[in-house]
Point group: C2
């Protein structure tokens, strides 16, 4: 019964790998199950033994990505939570995120482009937003001085961040995560000086 588990896992991985590969040259919408199974050299029916449909396939890849993102941020926050200033924590959060993006850039390059599935940037931002909310709510000085609803402020700041990431990816990752972190800090302090 052991060889079956292995075989199943391998076929499922093959489908996911092949799918991602095709996604580099073709948009999600235009990819057919046949495209995937022909390239992977398996029967089309086999696909349906592993995934409900195209969307299920993408969902599983997406969700693994979001889970991984959450794990990274959680780890950071548990070790940094009260040992540093808010500004230092912000900086480390940015650095962690840019590193994460660099690590997953092959997938993100596709998901954030128009080759991906509609609404990805919203789902990504929501996953990210949840983590930032936790970080902000712990901070009294923010809750007290912020006049606008927290959800609006969160949308503003996480979208801005995501905008930087999208530009970075569009530029073919022309900078290191460290450079992106200082670029982020430079933009914030530029706004502050006006």
């Amino acid at each position: 019964m052991n060889i079956y588990i292995e075989k199943n896992r391998k076929t499922k991985q093959l489908i996911q790998k092949t799918f991602m590969q095709i996604l580099e040259n073709k948009s999600f919408e235009s990819i057919t199950i046949g495209d995937i199974t022909k390239t992977a050299q398996i029967n089309r029916g086999t696909f349906y033994l592993h995934f409900k449909d195209k969307f299920d396939l993408l969902d599983q890849i997406e969700q693994r990505l979001f889970a991984d993102l959450g794990k990274h941020i959680d780890e950071l926050q548990s070790s940094y939570l009260s040992t540093h200033t808010f500004e230092k924590r912000q900086e480390h959060l940015a650095a962690t995120l840019f590193s994460f993006i660099e690590m997953h850039s092959p997938i993100l390059k596709i998901f954030l482009s128009d080759h991906g599935r509609a609404g990805f940037h919203i789902r990504f931002r929501d996953a990210f937003s949840e983590k930032v909310r936790f970080n902000l709510e712990k901070n009294k000085s923010i809750n007290d001085n912020l006049k606008v609803p927290l959800e609006y402020f969160l949308s503003f700041i996480t979208s801005a961040f995501l905008g930087l990431i999208e530009q970075w990816i569009r530029n073919g990752l022309d900078k290191t995560p460290q450079e992106m972190t200082s670029l982020y800090i430079d933009i914030i302090s530029f706004i502050q000086k006006r």
Copy 2:
């Protein structure tokens, strides 16, 4: 020969209207040409007399939206360009945009959701970004003091703005364009105070 032009125009409009209507309940990908023509009570072949395919139909609606957005911003800039301070111009730009969004919220609600087509928020941001770039490049004090590449700053600020818009729409337009403008200003000044 005039009645023909009228008939053609009306059928084309009917297709677009019906399409937008269906888009409220069904995702772009899952809508078929048959869905549209059955609802509009026209022959399926007629669709192809007006549009190349589903994408062409959506493109034409998108492009009309972007053109309209550009027109609004251009009008604003030509009348305000050098008669006000940079901050006042920013505020009026924000107010203009929020009004535009409110006016087109039925379409934008769909296009920005996962019922729309992948990459819309990128195309929308690009259209918007071009106009803001023009505004920023005219301003010497920004070009001189900004250490980071303009494209990154543009991505940051236009994405942040789009984030506010998305949240606003998600909240079912719970505020007036005027309230959104002061909300925007409040967020900026909150960042400045830190």
